[in-house]
Amino acid sequence: MSTPARKRLMRDFRRLTSDPPQGVNGSPNPDNIMQWNCVIFGPEDTPWDGGTFKLTMEFSEEYPNKAPTVKFKTKLFHPNVYADGSICLDILQNQWSPIYDVAAILTSIQSLLSDPNPNSPANGEAARLYNENRREYNRRVREVVEASWVEDVPAEEEGKEDK
């Protein structure tokens, strides 16, 4: 059964494997192309360097006219990431457009890591430290980076959706 959303996701996947952007990876769930598991590696030369951050993407049949729901499964300390892993990023919300494919979404999130927008904070403490005490902010970031190496549990308990 091939709907436009599924067809498009197949192509997104093909592009991601044939021409993979640096530092990101992802693949659909073997029995459900609408659900993807992805990884973003922390950008080099930033406090995020070395981190491996897992995310899930959930697409609806309205894709690519609607953005997927994207959530970090690895615990993050970042001004634009909520405690439950959801991400506050314009292209995933009001600035979404069908020209973004999975690869583009992942690279946008990757650049959000090292280039946060402290003006629309999802995590007030992270935003405050980012603005006022970068040293401490970086230390907290290093903590989640190190935790990401061992962590294999979802950011919050609700995550039984990835079977």
Binding site: T3, P4, R14, S60, I99, S120, A122, N123, A127
Partner: protein, 296 residues
């Protein structure tokens, strides 16, 4: 954001959050308004008499009533589109396809199809990936082929059903947005002055404007979008501007001149000036509907 789990609103940021509602709250409200719109109106409605339009203003601003009365001399009916920010593109393409169908205009249909196909190379050259637009382009071409097959009641119904279908209708709108964006960026020198000063932070560029105001679904269309898309597809359009302003059109003439809605024709450079518009749209501040001219 998708409306799959309205209950699970992410927690609002800490104590320092200002009074301004959070971005999430604003978005949620926007989505809610759109969802309510979707319940009461189709993407494209039924043809209605202009009297129905007039009735909306009967107890309100009489300038509207006067102007609609005047409009009735030239237009027979109108058709509403859903106010979801895509109304210009949707109204435009629906009215155009319907015109092809009713006039069985094979020559125009063929011209249009080759123009649409020529955009494939231009979009790729403009940096759009094929995977992003090829399905949408196919869908649009299919609609054109469909409307040239027959011009009976059934074909008309089919067009309506397709343009009311979430997937078909939105994919076509999306394709038009990409073509518009690409046209604006291809002719950056021409379009840049129009966006100059629209925002300073970050500095306005044609590319950024397209990313923010052309490509995303639901972003409203303005003069600039219309100029670009009518040029890109070479389809002349007339927009009738209906607002509450009280100055008689044309000024001067004989004192008690009746108020008249002003018109603006978007005629692509490739068409001789004065080419008859193929699409008539009714603009009321913030919204476009379709107008049907009286024949003859």
């Amino acid at each position: 954001m998708a409306s799959t789990e309205p209950a699970a609103e992410p927690p609002v940021a800490g104590s320092e959050a200002p009074d301004r509602p959070s971005d999430e709250a604003i978005l949620q409200q926007q989505n809610q308004i759109r969802a309510e719109q979707a319940k009461v109106s189709e993407y494209v409605g039924q043809e209605e008499n202009l009297g129905a339009l007039k009735a909306e203003y009967e107890n309100g601003n009489q300038n509207f009533v006067q102007k609609i009365g005047k409009l009735e001399e030239r237009y027979r009916t109108f058709r509403r589109t859903r106010g979801d920010g895509n109304c210009f593109f949707r109204g435009f393409i629906y009215a155009y396809l319907e015109g092809l169908l009713q006039n069985s205009d094979l020559a125009e249909a063929n011209r249009f199809m080759s123009v649409v196909q020529s955009w494939k190379a231009k979009l790729v050259e403009g940096g759009f990936q094929e995977l992003v637009f090829e399905d949408a382009m196919e869908l649009l071409l299919e609609q054109v082929k469909e409307v040239t097959k027959a011009s009976d009641q059934f074909a008309q119904e089919k067009l309506l059903v397709n343009m009311r279908d979430d997937m078909v209708s939105n994919m076509i709108v999306m394709f038009l947005r990409l073509v518009t964006s690409c046209e604006v960026q291809r002719r950056e020198d021409f379009f840049f002055p129009f966006i100059l000063g629209m925002y300073d932070e970050p500095p306005a560029t044609v590319e950024l404007f397209c990313q923010r105001h052309v490509e995303p679904m639901g972003e409203e269309s303005d003069h600039l979008h219309i100029v670009a898309v009518t040029e890109a597809l070479q389809i002349p359009v007339r927009v009738v501007y209906l607002d509450s302003s009280g100055l008689p059109a044309g000024g001067g003439g004989g004192g008690a001149g009746a108020l008249e809605a002003s018109c603006h024709d978007f005629v692509p450079d490739s068409c001789p000036p004065g080419t008859a518009p193929r699409v008539h749209l009714l603009y009321r501040p913030g919204h476009y509907d379709i107008l049907y001219a009286k024949s003859g």
